[in-house]
């Protein structure tokens, strides 16, 4: 059965860089009209408030974020995530807003011949089929992990999203809690992301990002995390750990965060936090391995951030 007539396929779509849209146009997954987003000083580039807080325009290229020295100083988890995603060509063109609003990379969603929840279908074929690269936190009817690495990093920074209609949206407000399987985000039809606002960095905070993949580069993460923390007096304070690639939305690993709060910044604390990274996980038959990868990632990154 072809899904070419599903409403979601024929709806108008925004085009920022078009790195994903071009492929969906060709495969027949996007058949509606296109609204090209035009760059303006407000949607492109990074501006700084007097308190040291950054605002990033939605049409700022990922590569521009990845290579911004001041951003790297203030929000190292965000620049590291930008450096780690996709390929150099994609990073060169793709935008922050486009990264947040991109469509699922699920191999069932991408096949224009197969119906699924995100294409007006009645069930998730990955759940009963092949979900090797899907979620290990089964939070809703669709089992595709959210593809946005930037959303995962921004969640660690409590970033707020401003659209042309609303402001002050958290990443959770933007993407939901994973219980809605029919969409990749909660933007209304025609609503467009304009900029991202970051809170001013804390004194002495540091952050690291890492993804687990099978090759060296250019692969969607099997699991990825961003860890942000202040270490004072040799103790972890204000730890934020977020994970991507494992759930329908980026997750805060709150149990790991709580376990580190006020604990010595050392390998033993990291190992303890790592064991708690999978709290609340509900893996699918084929995704149990992601829990081991997530544990390994938390242990790796927290250990490195502690030194």
């Amino acid at each position: 059965m072809s899904v070419a007539t599903a409403e979601v396929i024929t709806a108008p779509e925004f085009r920022a860089a078009g790195t994903d849209l071009s492929e969906r146009r060709r495969s027949g997954l996007s058949c509606g009209s296109i609204i090209d987003l035009t760059t303006s000083p407000d949607t492109i580039g990074i501006t700084w408030g007097t308190d040291g807080a950054a605002r990033i325009g939605a049409l700022t290229a990922i590569a521009a974020i990845a290579s911004d020295a001041r951003l790297a100083q203030a929000y190292p988890g965000i620049t590291a995530a930008a450096q780690g995603l996709a390929t150099p060509q994609i990073r060169h063109m793709a935008t922050l807003g486009g990264n947040l609003a991109q469509r699922s990379r699920c191999w069932y969603f991408r096949n224009p011949q197969i119906a699924c929840l995100k294409k007006g279908g009645s069930d998730c074929p990955a759940r009963s089929g092949n979900h090797l690269y899907h979620v290990a936190f089964d939070l809703g009817p669709c089992v595709a992990p959210h593809p946005s690495t930037m959303a995962m990093a921004l969640l660690a920074y409590d970033a707020k999203v401003t659209t042309d209609r609303r402001s002050g949206l958290s990443i959770s407000d933007l993407l939901g809690d994973g219980s809605n399987g029919t969409a990749d985000n909660l933007l209304a039809s025609g609503e467009r992301i304009e900029r991202i606002e970051l809170p001013a960095p804390q004194a002495g905070e540091r952050a690291l990002y890492k993804r687990a993949i099978s090759r060296s580069y250019a692969e969607w993460p099997l699991a990825e995390i961003c860890v942000r923390a202040v270490i004072s007096g040799g103790m972890f304070q204000q730890v934020h750990i977020t994970a991507g690639g494992v759930a329908p939305v980026p997750l805060r690993l709150v149990a790991s965060e709580a376990a580190l709060q006020g604990k010595p910044a050392n390998a033993a604390s990291a190992a303890q936090a790592a064991e708690l990274a999978v709290s609340g996980a509900r893996p699918l038959p084929m995704t149990g391995y992601k829990l081991e990868l997530l544990t390994g990632l938390v242990r790796d990154v927290v250990e490195r951030i502690a030194v």
């Binding site: 090797l132 687990a212 099978s214 038959p285 149990g288």
Partner: protein, 834 residues
């Protein structure tokens, strides 16, 4: 990016980069042979040029590290595996070593490939050419009850043809039903949508396990069995065929009953010298970067077909026969072919559709697969399950070897995996059975050393395990059990490597390193009736034969060989290939091109030399340092055509036809290969022994290959730089097979899910380790020119060497490939991966 986004901007393509003068990156790619088929080369050149220019602007002539180059080029993929040369080329270009006018290239068509001048089939664009698309089955098994092309034909400028067989049954998702041609892709898509199709679904069965179940729906009934595809390089023999299981094919067994009873006894006695395991290998897609493509054009009753094919000459004959056209009215052209690896060695749907559409439309038609078609219905190396039982004797000999292989061949048959274990490691008894498991999946095809890599993955790990149990060095055990003289020399080389001699005991930390060894071989095949013309035309040497270059370097092999004979430069030789109107040349399969063209070339050169001298009116100046150059420049046009003759009988000690050792069945097999597939099996066995070091991240399941040592015995190396490229590419493809590559399916519908390069994961440049290539050039003195093919032998052992290295690192044997992070972390926990 939409084209309009570039409005008002300057765009530089690969053609622009080299337009005025070659960029240092282009010269470096040429000099380091950083390319093979060349299809991905423009992308690499553009990206590497941008990287190099930026690097030079900020860092002068500092040399970038492998890590920096790997990261910068990580968005490009090369299926031939030219990464080793690309690393060296980019480093040298950045370092300023190619700023001068020095342009030298071991590959004679390299300049065309680094400047975008090389034309592939997909680039062909005749006046009035139409674009063809194929309507494919959505069902894994169905009978097409209605196929009405009229609504499509009613659209302006649309041609449409049926591709259904007379039984009107489709047996896999993606099986061709019909094809349309229209002025552009968009119109063709509309025409496809206009076709009326109704079908009656039939029960379907998907995959190796389901296909073997009792009562599974039968894919081919007796009457339709001839429709099944072929996963080997040659035609197959008869075999039992019940429901979806074809086999056993067990002609290469010897004392099979004895082998079985010895294994049973050893099992009952819990004999520690019995190694038993079940191995699983994944379906590997060829993933050619130039998709399957054909452009057909009729001029009156003459057909010109541009095709991305591994066999211009044979394809012409197949077309002439199928369409009852005179042989001299069909011409097949393939100037450059963007990869094949076995998948482009038949008369494929793209060709059939292009020809039939062009005939109906009375206009040229191009059919080029898209990436989804290329990664689903264009062939693959079948997945397999291999059960191995290997019994060592108390005296440390090899007593019995049993291998039973079930191959996941889809709508195809003729897998030989277990049988290949006959031609290595002689044992007192061998029980070798091959089965095809047919199901409602696209047909598999021959893929670089068909059956070799899965056989090696299972048998070479079993040999490793036996070495552990016998407490013998794994190379020493191979040297003891494998008397082949070519490999004996390679074992001596391997055991002398520092990396092997300095192996460390197993480690415990997060990152653990290990070293593994494995052996592989392929048959030495050559093609009878091959002819090569070597001529003087207009004062230059011209060599012609209807073969093709799929990235292996055929042009250079011919040019280098002839240049050596005349003491000229390879650039002095014009090589004409890729055109079926030339003298009959070999197909690029079975590693047979070099061994098929070099002997007749050398014979023709000898005769041509005599003719030139005989007709020379003036001898070269005394003391001339280029007497042949002078003679050729002054010679009248002379052409000599020679055919590939039989090899000499003067084989080195221990070198003989491997089939002789198999006795009567081997002779019958050899006769059938020659009679039905036009392939001769020669004496001596092309071989490779590889030693590989890996590092396993036990937390994240990541395997990093640190270095590879590949020893290769394929006789004298005709074109050393290109042979090195082939050897490295073979290793890189083998690493993909070992670590990353797997076709994934929906188990219910039979849809291929890994239908794009994001989901079907081939190795990238940063996954490429240091590769040390050792050529042992002896062993083929009985072949005129002393050279045989390198393509297949060099890729067979890689996956097994990686698996043995991983065992050495972590003490757990990974019996299933690809060895992905999910499998590593599961194995470390003693769990079976999903």
């Amino acid at each position: 990016m939409p084209a309009q986004a570039a409005a008002g901007k300057a765009v530089t393509t690969v053609e622009g980069i080299g337009a005025a003068q070659l960029h240092p990156v282009q010269k470096a790619f040429m000099a380091h042979d950083a390319l093979q088929c060349g299809f991905c080369t423009p992308g690499f050149i553009v990206e590497a040029t941008a990287f190099c220019d930026q690097w030079r602007a900020t860092k002068g002539t500092a040399v970038p590290s492998r890590e920096e180059i790997g990261a910068a080029l990580s968005g490009h993929l090369c299926r031939c595996g030219a990464y080793d040369g690309i690393f060296r080329a980019v480093a040298d270009a950045c370092a300023g070593r190619f700023d001068g006018d020095n342009v030298a290239a071991p590959r004679i068509e390299a300049r065309d490939k680094v400047t975008g001048a090389a034309k592939y089939t997909v680039d062909i664009n005749h006046d009035g050419q139409l674009e063809g698309l194929i309507l494919r089955s959505r069902d894994a098994h169905a009978r097409i009850t209605v196929l009405d092309l009229a609504p499509a034909r009613a659209l302006p400028g649309v041609a449409a043809v049926s591709l259904l067989g007379d039984d009107r049954i489709v047996r896999y998702v993606g099986e061709p039903i019909a094809a349309v041609a229209a002025r552009d892709r968009k119109s063709a898509l509309a025409a496809l949508a206009a076709i009326k199709v109704s079908s009656e679904k039939l029960p379907a069965v998907v995959g190796l396990d389901a296909g073997r179940k009792d009562g599974a729906p039968v894919v081919f009934d007796k009457a339709s069995r001839k429709r099944a595809g072929n996963v080997s390089e040659a035609a197959g023999g008869p075999a039992p065929w019940k429901q979806n299981i074809r086999g056993p094919t067990a002609v290469f067994s010897t004392r099979a009953k004895k082998a079985r009873s010895w294994v049973d006894e050893a099992r009952q006695a819990s004999n520690k010298l019995l190694v038993e395991a079940t191995f699983r290998t994944a379906t590997q897609q060829h993933a050619c970067l130039e998709p399957h493509a054909a452009v057909a054009r009729f001029d009156g009753d003459r057909l010109t077909l541009h095709a991305s094919t591994q066999q211009v000459f044979h394809l012409k004959e197949q077309i002439a026969k199928r369409y009852k056209i005179d042989h001299d009215k069909v011409r097949v052209i393939a100037d450059h072919v963007g990869g094949g690896f076995g998948s482009k060695a038949s008369l494929g749907t793209e060709t059939i559709a292009a020809i039939e559409l062009a005939r109906e439309a009375k206009a040229p038609v191009r059919v080029a697969y898209d990436r989804q078609e290329e990664l689903s219905v264009a062939g693959y190396r079948p997945a397999a399950e291999l059960k191995v039982a290997l019994l060592a004797s108390d005296q440390g000999g090899l007593k019995a070897l049993s291998v039973t292989a079930h191959a996941d061949t889809g709508a195809a048959t003729n897998s030989t995996i277990a049988g290949l274990a006959r031609l290595i490691y002689p044992a007192e008894a061998k029980d070798l059975s091959d089965f095809d498991v047919i199901s409602n999946l696209p047909p598999g095809a021959a893929f670089r050393g068909p059956g070799g890599p899965p056989m090696a993955f299972a048998v070479e790990q079993s040999i490793d395990e036996a070495a552990l149990r016998l407490k013998v060095d794994p190379i020493a055990l191979r040297k003891r059990w494998d008397p082949d003289p070519n490999r004996q020399r390679l074992y001596d080389w391997a055991s002398g490597l520092d990396i092997w001699r300095n192996r460390k005991p197993q480690q415990n930390g997060r990152y653990r390193r290990g070293i593994g060894v494995a052996t592989g071989y392929w048959l030495y095949l050559w093609q009878p009736n091959v002819k090569v013309e070597v001529a003087v035309k207009g004062g230059r040497i011209v060599a012609s034969t209807a073969t093709q270059d799929i990235g292996t370097g055929t042009r250079s092999v011919l040019a280098d060989t002839i240049a050596r004979e005349f003491d000229l430069e390879p650039s002095d030789i014009d090589v004409r290939i890729g055109d079926s109107s030339l003298p009959e040349g070999p197909g690029s399969g079975g590693s047979r091109v070099t061994a098929s063209v070099m002997p007749p070339t050398l014979q023709a050169v000898r005769k041509l030399k005599a003719a030139i001298l005989e007709q020379a009116t003036r001898k070269p100046a005394p003391g001339s340092n280029a007497p042949w150059r002078e003679l050729i420049a002054r010679s009248p046009d002379i052409a000599v055509t020679e055919a590939r003759g039989e090899d000499g009988k003067n084989t080195a000690p221990g070198i003989r036809s491997p089939l002789r050792e198999v006795g009567l069945m081997g002779m019958v097999f050899g006769w059938m290969m020659r009679r039905f597939s036009n392939i001769a099996v020669g004496a001596g066995v092309p071989s490779s022994v590889q030693v590989i070091e890996v590092e396993v991240d036990t937390w994240l399941g990541h395997v990093r290959v640190l270095n590879v040592h590949t020893g290769i015995a394929v006789g004298k190396i005709a074109s050393p730089a290109l042979a090195r490229s082939q050897a490295c590419g073979a290793v890189i493809q083998g690493l993909g097979y070992a670590l990353y590559e797997a076709r994934e399916l929906d188990p219910n519908s039979g849809d291929v899910l890994t239908a794009g390069m994001e989901d079907y994961r081939i190795p990238g440049i940063a996954d490429t380790p240091e590769i040390n290539v050792h050529f042992d050039e002896a062993g083929f003195d009985h072949v005129l020119g002393n050279s045989v093919g390198i393509g297949e032998a060099s890729t067979v052992p890689t996956s097994a060497a990686v698996a043995n290295a991983i065992y050495d690192a972590i003490g757990v044997r990974l019996t299933e490939i690809p060895i992905r992070p999910d499998r590593i972390v599961a194995a470390l926990k003693g769990r079976t991966a999903a």
